[in-house]
Amino acid sequence: MVTKPLTKNIDMSRPPLDMAGYEAADGYQSLHAIAKGLAPADVLQRVKDSGLKGRGGAGFPTGLKWSFVPMGPEAPKQKYLVVNADEMEPGTFKDRLLMEGDPHLLIEGMLIAAYTIQADKAYIFLRGEYIVAERRLRKAIDEAYARGYLGQNILGMGFNLDIVLHTSAGRYICGEETALLNALEGKRANPRAKPPFPQVSGLWGKPTIVNNVETLCNLPGILTYGVDWYHSLTKGTDHGTKLCGVSGKVKNPGCWELPLGTPIRELFEDYAGGMQDGLALRGFLPGGGSTDFLLPEHLDLTLDYDVIGKAGSRLATGTMIILDDQTCPVGMVGNLMKFFAHESCGFCTPCRDGLPWVDEIFNDFENGRGTEKDLAILHEHVDYLGPGRTFCALAPGATAPLGSGLRHFREDFERHIKDKKCSYRG
């Protein structure tokens, strides 16, 4: 039985499977299943039943998201599927593995999603730096056209799909789905107000679904092997497998496919090999740069959206960043703040003008100029940049490492003030 549906075909020591190889490994079976008479509503029901949650970070149920797209004869004729492949979350490199390692899996997932919402045009919004992924996706797309899996009247179903691969000019904010849509339209990558959600008014004002690469890569397995199989994969409460990454000073940083519900300790010790010699674990961001710090005591939690949520953080992209005891936590948080301040789109005030102030304060801390007043202002910004205050989730995301960092590493901040320097740097 397939236990690693996302990575079963991936072997980075060789090029990805071509069309023939991919089809030999059960590839495009889902498309043939659809052609045999699955209606869009049937596919939607299966995806809903699977319990698949979005793998881009927010963890929103995929089937539910799709169900908001207007369907039927009254619905707008033009609809779009957009793949969010603008993987820019700090510490996150999972979609890259999928696109470089098995590009046909994404195309098959896109076919399922586009068919379900009856979109005849799909865009892959790819991070510009992913040059290998771009090359491999283009080849795979060409193969799919040649095989008749893309284009007009696919497998005689009367269903059409064209895929456009768009390489981004590169902004973190383009990971926000509505900013991504603006960028795709050639506009400033500012997020849009929600509601209206993209399902109602998305790309060029038409109903649009934006899904993450990994989310879409889950779909072929669900249709090919069935919902029951999918439910059997997990070890915990959420369904399916998840690509999990570990970066930082561990012995074996990398990215692996694990069943949801796997204990974090297993990922950290068995896969990542634990800390490098002479270093101890100080804390970790469980799902990329915009999640709250967890501490060594949290290692026995399982990789589940709710479990990690209850511990005060988010599973998000599932890619951990490890903080060791020889690295300055103030410097680490400051580095993230510099990133978020720089990546603010400049649309709403708290994010645009709040994050640079935070960044400046971290600079001062690094250079021995931090003060108690600055520390108080940092605390204020955790609230000021929080959810509901800003236009989109960028700044609230930044407050996750900021707020939890201030909470967990307060003595480090205070030592910077007292010593007028960063003592980690000697």
Binding site: R192, D353, F391
Partner: protein, 907 residues
């Protein structure tokens, strides 16, 4: 209506709106930046945070942005909540992080929305002690200063300039806290509405460069409610004066006419008032010797002219009062229209249309509601710019409909635009050449007048089979079908045309509107644009047969020996030959005007007239709407309002004259309704023209006399040249200055509207003078004559320029910088056939005049668009021209011309 609770008080609000708009409508103070009453919400600044509670038991609540939250029945919110106040204080603190400490030298100071909101939000100490962000500023042309360091990134400028006004050369650039609002490179802002940036910007990024040249604080300006004299729209303005010079013009809200916006001609074209050339003293010229006259002696001369049986030539740029006084003086039969005959004919057609009950003359607010528009041979952007801005909004009715269907609230500006993308309500342009509205047009027909008439007849016929049949049906049957269907099916169709279209085309356009009435049985919006501020008032005042040629003929024939010309340069109205032939014959020419012209140069008696800001006056706009313009400041020369030279009682009050005009001039019966209701002003209290902060009143003339001067008394008006009085009076038909405690910027207007975007609680929207008669007119007969032009000739279509075509504003220095020399616009194929290139100087037939060639991509072949500027005698041009390349060096070439379709080779 919905009931909501705000800080414990229950309010009735409109559930179609957002909370911010409704809080402001209720008169509550809630700070904001990015929201604009006319442009809706985008949720960028986060300044209007309020606390929303789930129910009466909810004590915690959650912060929401008022501008992004629909007002729903039963809602409980708090503005005063501590957490909400803290959030607003944090936002203003953020906005002020890099804002310079330059309020004392910033021109926005004292009328800065950012200052007001900073105080309102309680921010007074800058905790930020890091490095500020700084920007480079750009040269943006003669109208607008740029100081990006003051920017608080509210996005209002680009939302107005690009989204609302259709501009393309101002954009948000860069990102995060380096976001920059400017052009891709330095240069003149191309939009005709760029001046609104001054008022749309909540702080001093975009300031008025013309004002800058002779700056004064807002509170030091003497102001009064005024009317723009730049075109026939009659936008409401507030001019400001200090030390006897007019310093600037800002918008004055009128819910029916201009709303919140002006065009750049109206805003920057006032400086002729301050011109050193202004006529100051009455003078008489006898045998070439000029004598200055005392006022009384000059009056006696007027009397002598009357006794000599002088004829009077009125003016479309003079007030009703002045035209009326002249008509009274010379007698109705001797009063002539001071406009070209063909224009007078158009105005008379317009009058008949204004009286016909099958039509409705739409206000700007109503134009914005049109969901299918047909514009016929009128370059609206250059002849009535504010209406072009309204037409740009009308095409968005499709977006509003789509948003309604998708349940997206109308105030969600970005979301509505995103949903609709380029889907626009139909707007069809019929004309001789492309115009600046083409970018929002669904259909465009560029053709010569004969074809326009044929297609219009086809459209009328397709709508109503009772419309006159064409001799030769047009070949444009698809276009005819499409346009007629669009107009027939629209909720509120609109036909726009005007005097510049030519009288046959105007009639053909009116037939389309009449056809719509025939099938829809409702009054059809027909907007006929007149050329000048009081063209319609003049047409109402002038007997039908009294065109200018008739007057010139009488003078030439010696039937009349004396003429009084009121505020008019006859050389702009008829050809030099015609005017010279008449004026050379007269024994007495008395001219009343503000500035020297070719006509004043011929005057035997020249009397100086006050400008629009120096007198109280009424004007009638294109709709037949009469509006009152108050005197802002006094003239310190011997200049008098035109009418005051012409009336027999020297102390006659203007209001008495307006009354008398209403009583005795046919058609003007309702004119007195524009006068303020004096009964609401108690105990002799008047409305002050000076703010309560007006400085230096006792000192400003101390270089001349250290005694405190007595404030001049204004016996004419309900306004006083004083700081004292009542600032505003509810239900009075005059609103002096819109100021309210804590609201020093133009945003204070919300305190005077009955609801946001509603009518003013004080003040007047004007009065429709023209009564619709009981009986309807008939279709105009079709014109079948075709003026086949000789081979090698091009039919002349007169082009207009927002900067230059208007006589008075064209004498303002800032406007002069934007003017273009005379040019001829021709199709590339015609240019090729004639061997002409862009930038060539050509002779216009045998008139001796020259102009510069501009190649226009969208231009009817066989037609030449001639912009005459100051150089070319428009009335000497034949109907068809031969263009011949001049041997003269082509000179500096064409500058200042901004059209939508300039052919690339020219660049």
């Amino acid at each position: 209506m919905a009931k909501i609770v705000i800080d414990g008080e229950t309010y009735e609000v409109d559930p179609a709106n957002n909370l911010l708009q409704e809080c402001l409508s209720q008169g509550l103070d809630l700070p904001y930046f990015c929201w604009h009453p006319c442009m809706g919400s985008i949720g960028a600044c986060r300044q209007c945070a309020v606390k929303q509670y789930r129910n009466a038991e909810d004590e915690k609540g959650m912060l929401v942005m008022a501008c992004m939250t629909q007002a729903t029945d039963g809602m409980i919110i708090s503005i005063e909540d501590e957490q909400a106040k803290t959030m607003r204080a944090r936002v203003i603190e953020s906005l002020m992080i890099s804002h310079p400490h330059d309020c004392p030298v910033c021109e926005e100071g004292g009328e800065c929305h950012l200052q007001d909101m900073t105080l309102m939000s309680g921010h007074n100490y800058r905790r930020y002690d890091k490095k500020k962000v700084t920007h480079h500023n750009q040269y943006l042309g003669p109208f607008i200063n740029h100081e990006m360091n003051r920017c608080i990134t509210c996005y209002r400028c680009v939302r107005f300039y690009d989204d609302y006004a259709g501009g393309t050369d101002l954009a948000a650039q860069a990102s995060h806290h380096h976001t920059y609002f400017g052009r891709h490179e330095e240069g003149v802002l191309e939009s005709e509405f760029s001046g609104n940036l001054v008022e749309v910007c909540p702080t001093g990024v975009f300031t008025d460069k013309v004002f800058s040249e002779h700056y004064s604080r807002k509170w030091d300006l003497q102001t009064a409610p005024s009317i723009c004299v730049g075109c026939a729209v009659g936008c409401n303005t507030t001019p400001g004066e200090r030390y006897s010079s007019l310093r600037r013009i800002v918008n004055r809200y009128n819910s029916e006419v201009n709303g919140y916006f002006l065009c750049d001609r109206g805003r920057f074209g006032f400086e002729f008032v301050n011109s050193p050339e202004r006529l100051k003293t009455p003078q008489q010229t006898v045998n070439g010797a000029v004598t200055e006259l005392a006022t009384e002696a000059a009056r006696l001369l007027v009397h002598e002219y009357q006794k000599a049986g002088a004829i009077g030539i009125g003016s479309p740029r003079a007030s009703n009062e002045s035209n009326f006084a002249l008509r009274n003086l010379v007698g109705e039969a001797n009063f002539y229209a001071g406009v070209a005959d063909e224009e007078f004919e158009c105005l008379q057609v317009q009058m008949s249309l204004l009286q016909d009950p099958v039509f409705h003359a739409p206000s700007i607010r109503e134009i914005e509601q049109a969901d299918a528009v047909l514009i016929v041979n009128e370059d609206v952007t250059n002849t009535a710019p504010r209406i072009a801005l309204a037409l740009r909004q009308s095409v968005r009715n499709k977006a509003k409909q789509l948003a309604h269907d998708c349940k997206i609230p109308q105030w969600q500006d970005a979301a509505v635009r995103e949903l609709a993308q380029r889907e626009l309500s139909p707007l069809c342009l019929f004309g001789n050449y492309a115009t600046r509205l083409d970018d929002v047009a669904s259909d465009r027909l560029i053709a010569a007048n004969e074809e326009l008439i044929a297609v219009l007849a086809g459209v009328a016929r397709a709508i109503d089979t009772g419309a006159p049949t064409q001799a030769a049906p047009t070949s444009r049957s698809e276009l005819v079908q499409r346009v007629s269907a669009q107009l027939k099916d629209a909720r509120r169709p609109l036909i726009v045309t005007g005097s510049n279209a030519g009288v046959e085309v105007l009639r053909a356009a009116a037939n389309v509107a009449r056809a719509l009435h025939a099938v829809r049985k409702q009054a059809i919006d027909l907007c006929v644009l007149a050329p000048e501020v009081n063209s319609v008032g003049l047409a109402m005042m002038t007997p039908a047969g009294n065109g200018l040629c008739a007057a010139l003929q009488r003078l030439k024939a010696g039937v009349a020996t004396h003429a009084i010309v009121l505020e008019n340069d006859l050389y702009r109205r008829a050809s030099r030959t015609q005017v010279d032939a008449a004026l050379d014959k007269v024994s007495g020419l008395l001219v009343i005007d503000q500035l020297p012209t070719a006509t004043t140069a011929k005057a035997d008696v020249l009397l100086p007239a006050t400008s629009f800001s120096e007198h109280e006056a009424t004007y009638v706009n294109y709709e037949g709407r009469a509006q009152l313009s108050f005197q802002v400041h006094r003239s310190h020369s011997q200049a008098l309002p035109g009418w005051r030279w012409l009336v027999t009682e020297p102390d006659l009050a203007v209001n008495a004259l307006i009354q008398s005009c209403a009583e005795s001039a046919p058609g003007f019966a309702r004119l007195s309704e524009v006068l303020p209701d004096e009964s609401v002003f108690v105990a002799g209290m008047k409305v002050p023209r000076q703010s309560h902060r007006y400085s230096g009143r006792t000192a400003m003339k101390s270089n001349l006399d250290v005694n405190e001067p007595k404030q001049p008394v204004d016996t004419d008006s309900i306004l006083a040249f004083s700081m004292e009085g009542i600032p505003s009076q509810k239900n009075a038909s005059v609103l002096g200055a819109a100021w309210a405690p804590q609201w020093n910027s133009n945003q204070a207007i919300s305190k005077f509207q009955d609801e946001i975007n509603g009518e003013l609680k004080q003040g007047s929207v004007g009065t429709h003078l023209v009564q619709r008669s009981a009986s309807t007119g008939a279709y105009f007969p079709l014109v079948t004559k075709t003026s086949a032009s000789a081979a090698g000739t091009l039919r002349v279509a007169i082009a207009h320029q927002i900067f230059g075509s208007d006589e008075l504003s064209a004498r303002s220095p800032a406007i002069r910088q934007r003017m273009t020399p005379a040019y001829v616009g021709i199709a590339p194929s015609d240019a090729e056939a004639l061997g002409l290139h862009a930038g060539d100087r050509v002779y216009l037939g045998d008139t001796g005049a020259t102009a510069i060639v501009s190649l226009r991509r969208h231009m009817a072949t066989g037609t030449v668009a001639v912009y005459c500027g100051d150089e070319v005698d428009r009335h000497a041009l034949p109907t068809a021209l031969v263009l011949r390349k001049s041997d003269a060096a082509s000179g500096p070439g064409l500058s200042g011309l901004i059209v939508s379709d300039r052919y690339e080779e020219e660049l």
